[in-house]
């Protein structure tokens, strides 16, 4: 009988994204990332049982993909320095993970090759009768055992808060549709009216979804102007 630690079945946002890029046999760059953006968002929406802590990091990567996708849809779309950096970092991390995956494959291959080396058990064949160590008594044993029990890992409860304020993609999409209907048109900033980064991400996701489905039309009057969104 072997005891196995439960492992999370989620491989994280980079792992999932890399799967999508590799499935399409694409190189890692902005073009390929814009291409898999929709797959990624669909994946995200399908993961209803995703741990909360994971969801936050998935959304952060989703936001970066949204930026990439937005720029590919609206060429004049301006990005801040910070946003440019987040795109670069995403690409770098995907490339790095890809390298490690190649090495991991080598390990899996070696492990299956049945070529393990074996050593001897320590001090095999020696027997000393009874050699009690100093400083061991009942109270010491109890104390050690208690400390071990107290240190047992407890399930991660911490990330509960993280998502408390994040609205689901569907909720935000409904909210935006109703606001668009009442105002006919507005700027991106006003429509999303995000209170924090997470909400902004969800708002972005919603807008993109609506553009794709033909509900909204995006217009940028001049090069550095605000992006206007109209109901079609």
């Amino acid at each position: 009988m072997v005891y196995k630690v439960k492992t999370g079945k989620f491989e994280g946002p980079f792992g999932a994204l890399l799967d999508m890029v590799e499935e399409k046999k694409l190189a890692i760059n902005e073009i390929s990332l814009a291409e898999v953006c929709q797959d990624y968002l669909n994946y995200l929406k399908s993961q209803i049982n995703m741990p909360r802590a994971e969801t936050a990091s998935f959304l952060t990567v989703g936001a970066t993909l949204m930026l990439i996708k937005s720029r590919s849809l609206i060429p004049s779309f301006e990005l801040t320095e910070e946003e440019e950096e987040s795109i670069e970092e995403l690409e770098m991390k995907l490339k790095l993970l890809k390298e490690f995956r190649v090495l991991a494959k080598n390990f899996e291959y070696l492990a299956k090759a049945k070529q393990s080396l074996f050593s001897r058990q320590a001090l095999l064949g020696y027997n000393f009768g009874f050699l009690p160590p100093d400083k061991i008594n009942i109270e010491f044993l109890r104390e050690i055992q208690k400390r071990l029990i107290d240190s047992f890992p407890v399930p991660d409860l911490l990330p509960q808060k993280t998502l408390a304020k994040i609205i689901t993609i569907e909720q935000k999409a409904r909210d935006i549709i109703s606001r668009i209907q009442s105002r006919i048109f507005g700027t991106l900033d006003k429509i999303i009216s995000a209170k924090n980064k997470s909400e902004l991400i969800v708002g972005f996701l919603a807008i993109l979804e609506l553009i794709k489905q033909g509900f909204l039309d995006v217009e940028q009057k001049n090069l550095f102007g605000e992006v206007e969104i109209k109901k079609n």
Partner: protein, 188 residues
Amino acid sequence: MIISNEVNELAKRIEATLFVHGDPMVLEELAKLLGRTKTEIRQAAENLDQALISSALTLVWHGETLQLATKRQFTQDVEALVKDAVSRDLSRAAAETLAVVSYRGPLSRPEIDYIRGVNSSYTLRNLLIRGLILRSPDPKNNRSYLYQISADFLKFLGLNRQEQLPQYFDFKKRLEEALKSETKIENQ
């Protein structure tokens, strides 16, 4: 000292087997394990004997058994090593392992590893040779052992039975819960 040693493959297989097995091994068992006849094994063992001339190891023939051991001229080094290993105080890891075996034994090494969150094979050896714990074959799995507190150690602690350890039932229950909380999977 230049020695020519043409060691045939079977001799090496015997060497590897005896190295890992450790204890004396009956020729018959060796033959069965390596899929050869007893005569072939005996011949190859003679061969291995020759090859070990330049090694620190030697083949010990005792009746129908074979064992790999260190040569007599290294006895002093080996004894110093062994003395050193058992004269030290128990490490933190060893004390922890001893506590788990005392409170929850008999239990298997995978169970101990699981409770401690680290591999315990080295510390278990140390406790075994000091006579603080005992091991016996696991009746449910012949490739595994069960470990439990030794009678000598119990006596040393001034107890008659394991159950007399302070907070025994409370701790035992909590250790059991820790084991149950995770998925058990069959070995291979």
